[in-house]
Each structure stands twice: as structure tokens, then as C-alpha cells.
């Protein structure tokens, strides 16, 4: 599986590098313009708006490019190579999912870093970089970071598993390439069903694990956490147990379902 991931990364890193360079240029342009302090010129506003639109466009295209790597295998000739390699459908799905997660992580970290550097380079802050990090560390505990990362990973895996499952189900159900885009309709329907299911289950079982009071062995109930799996505030870190378990189980089921469809049902 790691070998397959290696080729996945090699096939996409140039595009990701290009996206990062473009982002760096656009962010620099925005910060540079803002730093000049000039206000109100039509050309300037147009320029900043254009840069922001380009950034949004790039983010959207990049998201579709990364998740589209799985769809390519199902519809394009490279599938003849991928699906004749001695790998199971589960290994292929897992490789695609992990590489997509890796790229989203890399892009997230890189864009954050670019912005931090540009803030310190262009904006007149009276705080040093080290001091800023120290203050952030004071505000956020390990529990906050843990829950934030857990939320990010679970959401990312759940979303990708749902997208891949929709693509695989669409491929198996509609063999016609021209209506292959129906995966998005399948995705929307499933997303609504699963979202509602999670909302209902969190509503029915409003028990939360309060990481702030773990030493007391506390398990609290409260309507404040009903609609969220995770609730992070300055003083509280709560996880809705039922919602969390539901998300875990659906992500696992979607992954296994995708692997099964690829392994047993997909005809190229």
C-alpha cells in the first residue's frame, strides 16, 4: 500500500507545488497592497477582489483535483493499471484516502505558515513571533489541540470516505461515463441523510465527555452540546459521545463499502 501511495504522491506533487507557489504570490500581492495603506481606489479594490477570488477558485479546483484522483481510476485508462496491480480494493481506497489527507494537511499547514510570515513581514504588530506562539500556547491546552486534531481528522476521513463511496456507487450503478457526474447527487443525498442521522442521535443521546473535568470522571448532559460532536471553548472541551461514535462508525462503513465496491463490483 505504501508503494502505491508513493506513486500517488509522485503523480500529484507538481500540481500541489504549483498551487502553493500561486497561493504565495496571491497572498503576497494582497498583503503588499494592504500594507501600502492606500484606500478606496477602484483598481486596487478590484485587484484585491480578483486575488481573493483566484484563491477561492484555486482552493476549489485543488479540492476537486485531489478527490478526483479516485474518480480517474474508475473512469480513465489508468484504472487498467491500478486495478491489475496485486492490491485489494481496500488497499487502493486507503492509499487514495491517506494521500488526499496528506495533501490537505500539507496545504493547510503551508497556507497558515505563509500567512503568519506575511503578517509579520507586512503588518505593524507590536508582538514578536515567539511571544505570539507563547500566548497561543497559554490559551490552548493539549486537550484543545487533541480535540481539534481529532475533529479535523475525523471530519476529513468522513468527508473523503463519503465522496469516494459516492463515486464508487455511481460507477457501479451507472456504467455510462457521461452521467458519471451523478456521484455529486449521490454525495449530496447521502450527506443530508448522514448529517440528519448524526443530529438526531446527538439529540436523543445528549451525553458529552467533558475533557476539562476528566479527572473527576465527569460525564455531563446538556442541550448546549446537542448539535455538535465537538465543542471547544476557552474553558471547556466537550465531545458528544453518541455523535462521535456515529461519525466513527459511518466513516468506517463508508470506507469498507467503497473498498467492497472497488474489489467486488466495479467493472472497467
Amino acid at each position: 500500500m505504501l508503494r502505491f501511495m508513493k506513486y500517488e504522491i509522485r503523480g500529484t506533487y507538481r500540481y500541489i507545488t504549483g498551487v502553493l507557489i500561486l497561493s504565495l504570490i496571491l497572498f503576497t500581492a494582497i498583503y503588499h497592497y494592504v500594507n501600502r495603506g492606500s484606500t478606496g481606489s477602484l483598481g486596487g479594490n478590484l485587484f484585491v477582489t480578483l486575488c481573493i477570488l483566484l484563491l477561492f477558485g484555486t482552493a476549489l479546483v485543488t479540492f476537486l483535483y485531489i478527490v478526483g484522483s479516485f474518480r480517474k481510476e474508475l473512469y480513465e485508462d489508468t484504472g487498467y493499471l491500478t486495478f491489475t496491480l496485486p492490491l485489494t480494493g481496500y488497499q487502493i481506497t486507503a492509499s487514495k484516502l491517506l494521500v488526499a489527507l496528506l495533501w490537505f494537511f500539507v496545504l493547510g499547514v503551508a497556507v497558515t505558515a505563509i500567512n503568519l510570515v506575511l503578517i509579520f513581514a507586512y503588518l505593524p504588530l507590536e508582538i514578536s513571533f515567539g511571544e505570539l506562539l507563547r500566548q497561543i500556547a497559554e490559551m490552548l491546552s493539549f486537550k484543545h489541540i487533541f480535540v481539534f486534531l481529532l475533529d479535523a481528522v475525523l471530519s476529513g476521513v468522513g468527508l473523503l470516505a463519503l465522496i469516494y463511496f459516492s463515486m464508487a456507487l455511481s460507477r457501479v450503478t451507472f456504467r455510462n461515463r457521461k452521467i458519471g457526474g451523478l456521484w455529486f447527487a449521490v454525495f449530496l443525498i447521502l450527506a443530508v441523510i448522514l448529517g440528519y442521522g448524526r443530529y438526531r442521535i446527538a439529540d436523543l443521546l445528549p451525553y458529552s465527555l467533558d475533557l476539562g473535568n476528566l479527572n473527576d470522571g465527569a460525564m455531563t448532559t446538556g442541550y448546549a452540546t446537542n448539535n455538535f460532536i465537538f465543542m471547544i471553548k476557552a474553558s471547556t472541551v466537550k465531545i458528544n459521545i453518541a455523535g462521535f461514535v456515529f461519525s466513527l462508525l459511518t466513516a468506517a462503513a463508508l470506507f469498507l463499502g467503497t473498498g467492497y465496491l472497488v474489489e467486488m463490483k466495479t467493472d472497467l
Binding site: D77, L85, P86
Partner: protein
């Protein structure tokens, strides 16, 4: 001699269309078998089932005693009827990929075959002509010491010079202890390399047997038998 491929009552349907209709056959180890038939006869469907790209509707397929899966994919060397390599690759990347995934891949043999085909290791896959891509994939496929080679239309759509080069490569480089399945409708160019032939028509085997015995029995070459079978 043992059978490398065993197929029993194999049927493949696409909704209302039957692509393969209850075919059964065994292929012995060490044989080169020609699967002959016009377009739409079921040749590619049969090959795709053997390589794990399609699932049968009914019936049983075993390769080297195993159902089609990860193991059979590791012992089957497959030449598809299209360019299946990733566009970003250079030839050396394709070589590394085959070497990483197939324990039977022989890099030295691949280098020799590239030389024979006049291809350079640093060439980009995307910039190769159709004939060059065909030669590259054939070089990759023949560089494996696989138990079963499956070649889908290996000389279709290439010029006569490349065709001869490809045929020479097949004859001189495949593993003699292995078996080879070749689909084609260009029978005249390939008939001399077949040990056995199988004629597929509308998803059914209408004639099969030892190529030499069929020639003697019918008093015709395989190309003429092909025309006789499919013109009626």
C-alpha cells in the same frame, strides 16, 4: 500437463446483452493460445475477467488454481488494448512501478527490450507515439517472468514495421514455461505463433483446438478458417 487457466460455465451479461455465454475451457501451461474473433465477439470481456477488471455474472474462473484476486494479479502479465500508464511518468518511472509491484520483473531484460525497441529510459510516456507506447507496454509486460501473459490486440493500430518488431519481441522474449493468451482479429500476422486457437462468436466458442491439427484437418491456414467461421 497442468492447467494454468480453468474456466467453467462462464457467463457475462451487461444488462440485456450477453457478452459471454456459458463458455468452458482449460488452458495448459506452456501454450500460446490465440483467442480469435471479430469486434464484439467477447474476446476483451474474457480477458478482462481473467485480469480482474470485470466480474463474471455466472461461472467459475481459476488461474493457477486460485480465483481471480491479488494472487492471480501477481502472476498474470497483462497488455491492455490502450495506454494505461500514468501521464506524468517517464519510462524509468514505469520501470520502477513494475519493479516495485511485481517480484518477477526483470530490470535487465527490460533494458534489453527498450534497446531493441529503440526507446530511451528518460522519455516521457505522454510524448510517445501510439506505436512507441505499444512497444513500451509490451516491453514492461514481457520483462516479467509471469506464469500467464495476457495480450489484448498487441498489434492493432501500429504500422507494419512496428508490428514485426512487436511480434519478434513476443516470440523471443516470453517465458517458455509460461502460457500466453493473445486476442486478435489480425489473424494472418499472428497465426504462426499460436499453439492452440479458439474462435469466439457472439460470446460462444464455436471452434477450438490445436492450430496445426486444425490446419491439417481443414486443409486451410488459420486465417482462411477464420474467414470461413465468421463470414457465414
Amino acid at each position: 500437463m497442468s492447467n494454468i487457466v480453468e474456466i467453467k460455465d462462464l457467463t457475462k451479461k451487461y444488462y440485456l446483452t450477453t457478452a459471454l455465454d456459458s463458455i468452458s475451457l482449460n488452458i495448459e501451461s506452456g501454450r500460446i493460445v490465440g483467442i480469435l474473433g471479430p469486434n464484439g465477439s467477447g474476446k476483451t470481456t474474457l480477458i478482462k475477467i481473467l485480469t480482474g477488471l470485470l466480474r463474471q455474472t455466472k461461472g467459475e474462473v481459476r488461474i493457477d488454481g486460485h480465483p481471480v484476486g491479488v494472487y492471480t494479479k501477481s502472476i498474470v502479465s497483462y497488455l491492455p488494448d490502450r495506454n494505461h500508464l500514468f501521464k506524468w511518468m517517464r519510462i524509468k518511472d514505469a520501470c520502477n512501478l513494475f519493479s516495485d509491484f511485481y517480484a518477477d520483473f526483470d530490470r535487465k531484460k527490460f533494458a534489453e527490450l527498450l534497446d531493441f525497441m529503440a526507446l530511451g529510459i528518460d522519455m516521457k510516456v505522454d510524448t510517445l507515439s501510439k506505436g512507441m507506447k505499444e512497444k513500451l507496454v509490451l516491453a514492461l509486460v514481457l520483462s516479467r517472468q509471469a506464469k500467464l501473459y495476457v495480450l489484448d490486440e498487441p498489434i492493432a493500430g501500429v504500422d507494419p514495421v512496428a508490428r514485426d518488431q512487436i511480434l519478434d519481441a513476443i516470440i523471443n522474449n516470453y517465458n517458455r514455461e509460461s502460457s500466453m493468451l493473445i486476442t486478435t482479429h489480425l489473424v494472418r500476422d499472428m497465426e504462426n505463433i499460436f499453439d492452440d486457437v479458439m474462435f469466439l462468436k457472439e460470446g460462444k466458442i464455436v471452434l477450438s483446438g490445436n492450430a496445426e491439427e486444425l490446419r491439417e484437418e481443414k486443409g486451410k491456414n488459420i486465417d482462411e478458417i477464420y474467414k470461413e467461421v465468421f463470414s457465414g
